[in-house]
Amino acid sequence: MTLTVSVQHQLGDFTLDARFEAPAGVTVLIGPSGAGKTTLVNTVAGLLHPRQGRIVVDDWVLLDTQAGRVLPPHKRRLGYVFQGARLFPHMSVRQNLLYGRWFAPRTARGESLDRVVDLLGIAHLLARRPGALSGGERQRVAIGRALLASPRLILADEPLTALDEARKAEILPYFERLRDEVSVPILYVSHSLSEVARLATTVVAMKDGQVAAVGSPDAILGDVAVVGARHAASVLNARVVAHHGDGLSELATGAGPLFLPHIHEVPGATIRVRIAARDVILSRERPHGLSALNILPGVIADIRTGHGPGALVTLTIGDERLTARITQRSVRDMGLEPGQPCHAVLKSVAVAPEDVGTGRID
């Protein structure tokens, strides 16, 4: 599966000129507000007709202005999860769920109602009306409705933004399950870097209507030009080894063992962990008498400095890379240089639950 998007459009002063290609999985669009993320998704949905462009999912051509092909939205075979759930207020949850299925070609029916209801945990809501649901429940129904339309591509425009932290934590795992258990590609708009770290297979960073960078979540989240030095982070693949009695979970990573606050996954599960660069401390010697539990020995691969007082130092640790954000003064005082051995120190409690997701990145 590949998603090919190439769109040019003019909206008042705003020019959208975006091109990217993404493989199967979850493609996350990030960028500041006004970067054109929603506009881009709406052109894929067919709700907005760009002046020029070509949008192809595999061999399914949604739009090709040169060939004169513009499919109307209802023929694009999409599942669009909107920011507000946009459930139909006059229908029950069950009718909402089955709405798109009714229009899908009989031969294309993928997921069954039972399986989707089960996947999203909404069996007890089927007879209710959307007006009687909580925000999180509504969004789950909206996901189910999109999924049951047997889409060839799922679009999600900041589906968690309207929810509070607890509800976000409730919904995000369902998108992870969608990615891991349902083989439909997803184009997902987000401005949360932890969502990117948890969900993305590919990240497309947008700025001023253009694609600024495309890459793996690890590459993009470590890219200062995209996320800014304050938000630079590394994403590590990990496997849950054990849960200890003192509330810590032990993980095996390519960089060595990690101890983090309890992670709600069974031992053996593959997860990914986002580690913010500002939470990593560096030490030339192995520190003693330190409260931090995670001390990982590695070699300095790269030191980047910008206009500010900070520096981003990336270590190669085993077969992973971990970035630390420290001051240029420390780099000078410690005499850090690429090729030197160095220890990365990480406080366990610096990693929050929203930084831990399922599945691995390649």
Binding site: A45, L47, H74, P89, H90, G100, A132, A149
Partner: protein, 232 residues
């Protein structure tokens, strides 16, 4: 009821109900279409259409009746065409009274429906289209159920207006007992004749009761539908 009113007045009541019923039923689909066009579409001549729809509201009813007579009368362009090709005659018939009532009630009906269409979130319609519903299906499965309270309100308002229509009706189709003498025409005729006051008073009571019943029914039905549609 017929005893209380006397046979002539009773005939007028039945006729009024029939005229108003058909006036609303036949104009309702057109009313929904026009309201939808005015609320959602942009096309050249939109303001002209809007003006035409509202004209009967501001014109003297007698003028509307006269224009109907000129257009739909036996010698009028449309009237002649209908007579020659379909054998339909409107002038001085109860069907003409229904047409007059429909034209006079049309602005009220369109206004009520248009307001309810403008209140529907277009994003719901967009959501339906992404789920595979074409334009017609979006209208039938999303827009129409959501504007149902407005349609009911508009229909009942139009019905009440049709029941009371006098000026355009009497100008277009005259005041023929049993054919075009509706309740207002009958009251008018009774008040013109000596000794008709008490019969007129009884008709006035009937008119009041019907109007009140219509309003209460409208309120009940649309409240019920609104609750169903709001999703609570």
């Amino acid at each position: 009821m017929a005893d209380f009113l006397g046979p002539d007045a009773w005939l007028a009541v039945l006729l009024s109900l029939r005229v108003s019923f058909w006036a609303v039923l036949v104009s309702l689909p057109l009313g929904i279409l026009v309201a939808h066009a005015l609320a959602r579409w942009s096309f050249p001549g939109k303001q002209v259409l809007n003006g035409l729809v509202h004209l009967p509201l501001v014109l003297p009813p007698v003028v509307t009746g006269y224009l109907l007579l000129v257009t739909f009368g036996r010698r009028g362009p449309v009237g002649q065409f209908l007579d020659t090709w379909f054998g339909i005659v409107l002038s001085f018939r109860w069907t003409g009274a229904a047409l007059a009532a429909a034209v006079m009630a049309f602005p009220l009906m369109v206004r009520a429906i248009r307001l309810s269409i403008e209140a529907v979130d277009p994003r719901l319609e967009a959501a339906a289209s992404t789920l595979g519903a074409g334009r017609a299906w979006v209208f039938v499965t999303v827009t129409l159920p959501l504007i149902l309270p407005g349609i009911i309100a508009g229909a009942i308002l139009a019905f009440a207006k049709a029941m009371g229509e006098f000026g355009a009706t009497i100008t277009f189709v005259s005041n023929i007992p049993g054919e075009t003498r509706t309740i207002p025409s009958a009251i008018h005729a009774l008040l013109q004749a000596p000794g008709g006051d008490s019969a007129a008073a009884r008709l006035v009571i009937v008119a009041l009761v019907i109007a009140m019943a219509a309003l209460v029914l409208a309120e009940l039905v649309s409240r019920r539908v609104a609750r169903r549609v709001s999703g609570a």
